[in-house]
Symmetry: C2
Subunit: 509 residues, 2 copies
């Protein structure tokens, strides 16, 4: 600590920040590994000990961040931000914003919240396994109450939900999001109706045939390698809900989940998480030790997972490479299927219950349902106990299907048990960014030709150069401008889906 | 912090200690999970980040422990130890000893040492894979120098090696150990010579037949369940060097390693680590949050792994249960073997290169070699660069076999890369304690009858009641007295080995 009454110099302030970030990284890595361990096989009985440990670590992170020395350093650097490099300036702006919000939440409450999330996630898992929503409900109520209390501490303009949105998508507001969803609804809902009414027969039998789970896992690693995910600096495992964890530039981990009779599920999760992982792995190396490492927003992160999962890997051109690969990897399983049938099967549109298994076209409606429910909860228009009923009503309204149990319904996603309110909308934003980037990419080179050869190098270079390398040094809007020369525009997303699915279902434009 | 000049009350001191232990546990669990992660599959490229994180955590543990408040609390509790319960008294005595030693080592040096160990272990792995001792040597030199410097800080009576011994086996000295090894050498070396000269033919072909590794892993879990290791509160995975990690009373993890043509290796590691794990799992539940959880010494811990691995699972009586089990689990693999042949094959005596693969009889000579080498290093009678030569000479002298590379020689064990000097001898002590406990157990019930049925319940109850439940509340000598009514006596160990192996090899007493 410096002597009272003497202001820090810029150099001293930089040193304070460096040490703070180093401590955060050291302790943050430990937290990340415990999280990974919990998701990929730790004994259930380890939960109480882990919850204490995670809670303690969270308290430390708060303590290292929120203190007079760091506060002074932030002030000094912010006041002198014109002397800083662009990255330093961005870092101090993000840190100042973060500080102002975090410092308003008492350390002990944050620590208790982290312990609550540990317990809630465990409870969600059990509740989902046993279809027992009531077991999970009290935890969810406590999470929502805590987030509301936190919003009060942090302060907000307009609606508190804007605060949650901005946490995951810098600059996003309910107003912008409503406009986005209005376009999406206006263009996609009629298309889905047309498709539902179409008499096009899509062959699907080969998608539900039995494929050995161990063989699927093995193929998963090969596929990641094809996508240019670097398995030397990462790994693939199994968990209840697929996720990606970029614990370090050189430690990026993915999970998938496998079903013997649903090959598409495990494979598309791998393509999806692989896209996230590629983003994390291809930050500029100079960001390895920086707080600017990672993805700039959930929406931009999701654009990278979606562009690999949908725009590349479910592309008709890619099937020319993928079909022979499948035949080689799973002898006899894809021999009596045409490449066209494979393409259609992989892109079958069928309103269904599980978001992560949803087809590309109905997917945004799953997201819309969660967005609307979150708003109802935040506005106290419904209670947690109403959730199973409201969920089912909205599924019926938008998708015309109703889950027969909560495991296939309101309990299907991990997010709420992790306190991720305001996160779901970024899934739809990601798909829209992905379509916009893909469209722009075709101006640089022949993407379909590359996909036909299963060659992802040029794709990787294009995305790394415009998205990955920047980490969080640019805002989502800046990334959109750098990569596509315009801000987010749902037109590309809707155009892409219309062209693709009208093609598959033989509908006139 | 309390006000200066006013002494803490006993209650205040207890509160200070409780908070300190809670912090240690929280941060210690994080360290344990990172260690587990590193050993069971983390990408290699994660090492630098993990090393920083582990080093930081180690620094925190030091900081929480070594400070004026804890020092005062220890003083107050120690001075008033007659007011404490027996467990509280034991805890403060152990903690005081630990404090006096730890506080003498500067925090930064301890932190650097932890980072060194991270790097050394990674380097050892690579050196072993590539048979490149020179790559590992500088790390080992630095470890030895650090341990010597630490011994200087800590202070010791007699020989510095006594300090290392006492770290793992409370109360052990070179003098006692030399006496122990003298008896062992005197009685076992001639026996090994007799066996080497015997013309008894032992069938071994079925021990090297190909057995699918995945099937071995699956059997491993079933076998742990038979042994009464609780898989609900623990797990089994794979690592380069098998180990057990008791991260919590309800989170006890084991690893084994598997070879298709060496079934014995994976299985005996499971029986061995299972014994360690059973000890950790069966501490009294009241010790869950206590610093007195765990095993009281490495020797006593090893007695539990050895008693399961050798005294129970390589017992002739157990073969009556084990043989049908193997036939069921691995169809066709053990059908043309008699139970007697299985027993003899599992207990084949053959001087060999790898300690963890050694037979029960030549095993203590592997330990003796490491003990003698450690003394030579500590006494500066040899340098690290001499190790490959000295190793090979001693292998020739005691076992009559010489490794053709360092991976099968001086690089085979992880211990030195983890700074574990003074640890190896406890492996031999463990076997001796095991024989002494087994002998005593037969006075309580018919152990062989239980083994014939594959029933480990009575065994578990006996050991839990006399060893496991106590955690570290008793010294090794006290555990020996409680369990066997006498102190460690190598007679039981030598008697056991003589009877067993004279029987197998048809030699007269």
């Amino acid at each position: 600590m410096l002597m009272e009454g003497i202001e820090m110099t810029v150099e001293q302030a930089k040193q304070v920040m460096l040490e703070m970030f180093q401590k955060q990284q050291a302790i943050g890595y430990a937290g990340a590994i415990m999280h990974w361990d919990a998701a990929t096989g730790a004994p259930k009985s380890a939960m109480p000990r882990r919850a204490k440990s995670m809670g303690f670590i969270s308290g430390l992170r708060h303590e290292y961040f929120v203190n007079p020395e760091v506060e002074e350093a932030i002030g000094v650097l912010y006041d002198n931000r014109d002397q800083l490099t662009a990255n330093e300036k961005r870092e101090i702006e993000l840190t100042k914003k973060n500080y102002e919000e975090t410092s308003k939440i008492p350390k002990e409450e944050m620590q208790n919240y982290q312990m609550l999330l540990q317990k809630a996630e465990q409870s969600w898992e059990e509740a989902r396994e046993t279809d027992n929503f009531d077991m999970f409900a009290p935890h969810l109520e406590e999470i929502i109450e805590t987030l509301k209390r936190f919003a009060g501490y942090r302060g907000f303009e307009g609606h508190p939900y804007n605060l949650y949105l901005d946490d995951f998508e810098e600059g996003m507001t309910m107003e912008k999001l409503d406009q986005f969803f209005d376009v999406v609804k206006e263009r996609l809902v009629p298309l889905i109706h047309e498709i539902n009414a179409s008499d096009k027969k899509i062959r699907y039998d080969f998608m539900t045939q039995a494929i050995d789970v161990e063989a699927q896992k093995k193929f998963g690693e090969r596929f990641l390698d094809i996508m240019k995910f670097d398995l030397e600096r990462g790994m693939l495992k199994e968990s209840a809900h697929p996720f990606t964890m970029g614990a370090d530039l050189d430690d990026v981990r993915l999970t998938s989940r496998y079903f013997e009779d649903m090959f598409l599920s495990g494979w598309s999760s791998i393509a999806h998480e692989g896209g996230h992982g590629i983003y994390e792995q291809n930050n500029a190396r100079e960001l390895k030790e920086s707080s600017l490492r990672g993805g700039t927003s959930s929406g931009i992160h999701e654009s990278q997972s979606r562009i690999y999962e949908n725009n590349f890997c479910r592309n008709r051109a890619f099937m020319d490479y993928f079909h022979p690969l499948l035949k080689e990897e799973f002898p006899g399983k894809f021999d009596d299927v045409t490449t066209e049938e494979l393409y259609e099967g992989i892109n079958l549109v069928r309103p269904s219950l599980i978001r992560v298994e949803a087809d590309e076209l109905t997917y945004p409606l799953h997201v819309l349902i969660r967005y609307e429910i979150e708003l109802l909860l935040v506005n106290n228009e419904i209670q947690v106990s109403d959730l199973p009923r409201v969920w089912n009503e909205k599924m019926e309204q938008y998708l015309g299907v109703v889950p027969s149990n909560n495991a296939e319904g309101v309990l299907q996603d991990v997010h709420w048990s992790s306190g991720l309110f305001g996160y779901f909308p970024t899934y739809a934003l990601g798909s829209a960014y992905a379509a916009q980037m893909y469209n722009k990419m075709t101006e640089s080179f022949n993407v379909e030709e590359a996909l036909k050869r299963g060659d992802f190098q040029e794709i990787l270079d294009w995305l790394s150069d415009r998205v990955h390398k920047y980490g969080t040094t640019k805002t989502p809007d800046e990334i959109s401008m750098i990569a596509t020369d315009e801000l987010l525009n749902p037109k590309y997303y809707c155009d892409y889906l219309e062209t693709k699915y009208r093609g598959i279902y033989g509908l006139n434009k």
